[in-house]
């Protein structure tokens, strides 16, 4: 047993309380089927195009929308039922976006009508990539980036390490933790499939050491002589960012503006591996995912396997509802997740958690002037100067912000967390980045 401080990690970062005790030992339960499902057509990449008509009957697992282009994935029905329509419904972002609305069949046994299983070893590179895209599989860590895009390596690029992200550094969330404990064999099965296809020499799984049972479960499933290493890491935020994870595992920095592939790595979330194993070995596309429902405002915190498109309202009701003093709902983790304007929004492929907070957690202390203490600089894992960026953002100095690499900020929020003066640093940066992106889009539209 190594002492925690001798474990590997990346430079900088912060140590928020992990708040995982409420759910980390709770076995994943199944969300009962509800009567109505809403699936936004855009779930990672470009919106998919519906391939079923209004009123048409669909089976659980049947394809209901097809990928539009390469950076897009297929969408499958999470239930046996009927298509109600393609109107706009509220998305967790607050916007009203085009969705497929489904009515579940109350008399169906809701068995998955599985697709044909495929032996991944018999597929060459492009066929493999296309098959992953057909499974509707996206990164389940939260960003929901289409998984197959990462597997299409440009000619001449060598993938040395296939890296699995089991850090789960966001407080409260335990869905990846439970996945690693309960489905360790499938995590490793997915890892073997992808590593084999990419020609990676070895597989590294980084797991923060506050999940010893996950480390043990994964190690128990590694075959003797196999090049799969499970590395316990220090508990530090934002270690689950792929560049930070690579730095923690190999001591190599991914340069700004470059991808992990530029240092010979491909990084995936552990949950994505389970989805791949389900798709290749059992013919089940991505139609459900594990969501952690937690936070002080939830009556019965739980890890729930939820069919996509289930409304957050139904999911909360399944978890005993919320306390009356709940004043904020967050989708995702508390550091990077976004506040919800409505709980009548669906669970998406990228929804890792639904958290309910009361006034005690959401209170904002009054803001003071910058003390020039430098804590935000020590927090920033990208080695930016958040203090300067925040002041420039407040002054609206967009050109100077860009010259100070504001676009390299991943908006992890460690700076705001570290600031003793309660300056909303990451909020200022986020707003400025949105303005810069808007301006770029308008300029691109003009020319």
């Amino acid at each position: 047993m190594k002492l925690p401080f001798t474990l590997r990690s990346f430079a900088h970062g912060v140590h928020p309380h992990d708040h995982k005790q409420g759910t980390e030992h709770l076995a994943t339960e199944h969300m009962p089927f509800v009567s109505r499902y809403v699936l936004p057509l855009a779930q990672g990449g470009k919106p998919a195009v519906p391939v079923v008509g209004r009123g048409e009957g669909v089976r659980r697992g049947q394809r209901i929308a097809a990928a539009d282009g390469f950076v897009s994935t297929d969408l499958h029905s999470p239930v046996d039922g009927q298509v109600l329509g393609f109107d706009r419904h509220r998305h967790p972002s607050g916007e009203l976006v085009p969705c497929v609305e489904l009515q579940a069949d109350p008399f169906s046994a809701q068995e998955v009508s599985a697709h044909a299983t495929v032996d991944p070893d018999g597929l060459d590179g492009d066929a493999f990539v296309a098959h992953v895209q057909r499974g509707g599989i996206v990164g389940l860590g939260g960003a929901a980036f289409p998984a197959h895009v990462k597997y299409k390596t440009p000619a001449g690029r060598v993938v040395e390490h296939f890296v699995l992200n089991g850090c789960e550094c966001e407080p409260y969330l335990t869905c990846d933790h439970r996945t690693m404990v309960e489905r360790a064999a499938d995590v490793l099965r997915g890892a073997r499939i992808v590593a084999g296809q990419l020609g990676a020499k070895d597989v590294h799984i980084g797991v923060e050491h506050n999940k010893p049972d996950a480390v043990a479960a994964l190690r128990a499933n590694v075959r003797p002589g196999e090049a799969i290493t499970i590395t316990p890491l220090q508990v530090k935020y934002p270690q689950g960012a792929e560049k930070m994870l690579i730095e923690a595992l190999f001591g190599v920095e991914v340069p700004a503006g470059k991808l992990p592939l530029d240092v010979g790595c491909v990084v995936n979330n552990v949950g994505t591996m389970v989805a791949l194993a389900d798709w290749f070995d059992r013919g089940v596309p991505l139609i459900e995912r594990v969501v952690t429902v937690s936070g002080p405002g939830v009556r019965r915190p739980a890890n729930v396997r939820v069919p996509l498109g289930t409304s957050v309202r139904e999911l909360l009701a399944h978890c005993g509802g919320t306390l009356p003093e709940t004043c904020e709902m967050v989708m995702g983790g508390p550091m990077m997740g976004s506040a919800l304007a409505s709980i009548d929004v669906p669970v998406l492929k990228g929804t890792s958690g639904v958290l309910a907070f009361t006034a005690a957690e959401t209170a904002r202390g009054s803001e003071y002037g910058c003390l020039k203490c430098g804590r935000c600089l020590d927090a920033c894992a990208n080695f930016l100067n958040p203090s300067v960026l925040a002041r420039l953002a407040r002054a609206g100095e967009m050109k100077t912000l860009e010259a100070n690499f504001v676009m390299d900020c991943m908006e992890c929020g460690a700076c705001s967390f570290a600031c003793p003066s309660n300056i909303p640093i990451v909020q200022l940066i986020r707003v400025a980045k949105s303005a810069i992106r808007d301006e770029r889009r308008k300029e691109a539209g003009k020319s």
Binding site: D87, R88, P92, S93, G94, E95, L96, S338, A339, L340, A341, S342, T362, G396, P424, Q427, L428, R430, V431, S434, A435, D438, E439, K442
Partner: protein, 276 residues
């Protein structure tokens, strides 16, 4: 003694040499400048707002004296200043087609449905990226005054209903508010055509009405009541052809069930119901 003389000689020599260079530059490298430019620049407002499309007042003055632009191109100068410049240069002032910033939304606190309270960073753009600011309509005005803060002319004030009111006399059509609005609700429109669609909701019927009592529900009556070609429906919204010289008067607004299309001669929202 020799050193002192030497120093004096060097200084004198340098003086002669540099003098010769100056004389050469004055003679052969001279850039002729229209002497009227300085005077025209004085007559311009000097705000350097960029509303005319030139990099600043000096550049616009140069374009005027060169005859490339007409004095009415300045959106800030009033009719007297434009006439003064035209008289000074002895040119035609050009047609004065004044534009002002207009907001394509009338969904204030009394009209738009609010589904959640926004208690975050005080900025429209901040609210826009955080769950849409809790406003039921994801196209409408967020009411947190980003436009008011960027207006250099003090032309925008937030009314009690949470909507920005543009002072037509102060607005110079510089376009800063158009850039600042995260929902692209401002547009620079000519004053001579007062027909204005105050909504950007691309939904029709009940779906639009349940978001806001001032939303356009795409019934199409305004298009029927307008002269041929002045209005057309695009994505469930009427679009006014501001290039058209047709003067339809307020007739197309009479049968609008929600008041989404308005006849606005001066400031917007003058007659609107307000709930503070």
């Amino acid at each position: 003694m020799g050193d002192v003389l030497m120093a004096g000689a060097i200084m004198a020599g340098l003086g002669v040499l540099l003098g010769a260079m100056l004389a050469f530059a004055y003679r052969f490298l001279r850039v002729p400048e229209d002497p009227r430019t300085a005077r025209v620049e004085q007559l311009l407002p000097g705000t350097n707002c960029g509303g005319c499309g030139e990099p600043g007042c000096r550049a616009f003055a140069e374009a005027l004296t060169a005859g490339a632009r007409q004095p009415s191109g300045c959106t800030v100068a009033g009719p007297e200043a434009v006439a003064a410049i035209a008289a000074f240069l002895g040119v035609d002032a050009g047609a004065l087609d004044r534009k002002v910033a207009r907001l394509h939304c009338a969904g204030g606190k009394a009209q738009a449905v609010q589904i959640a309270a926004y208690d975050g960073f005080e900025s429209c753009r901040g609210a826009h990226v955080t769950g849409g600011g809790g406003k039921g309509c994801s196209w409408g005005c967020l009411g947190l005054a980003d436009c008011q803060r960027v207006c250099d002319f003090g032309a925008i004030t937030m009314n009690d209903n949470g909507l920005p009111v543009v002072d037509v006399d102060k607005c110079t059509a510089c376009g800063d508010c158009v850039v600042a609005c995260p929902r692209d609700l401002f547009e620079l429109l000519p004053l001579r055509q007062p027909l204005l669609v105050q909504c950007r909701v691309p939904l029709a019927g009940e779906a639009a009405r349940q978001l806001c009592t001032a939303a356009c529900d795409a019934c199409g009556r305004c298009v029927q009541d307008a002269p041929e070609g002045l209005l057309r429906m695009v994505d469930n919204l009427p679009v006014v052809d501001y290039a058209s010289a047709v003067d339809a008067g307020p007739a197309p607004t009479f049968r609008c069930p929600t008041g989404a299309i308005q006849f606005v001669a001066k400031a917007q929202f003058a007659k609107q119901e307000v709930r503070a």
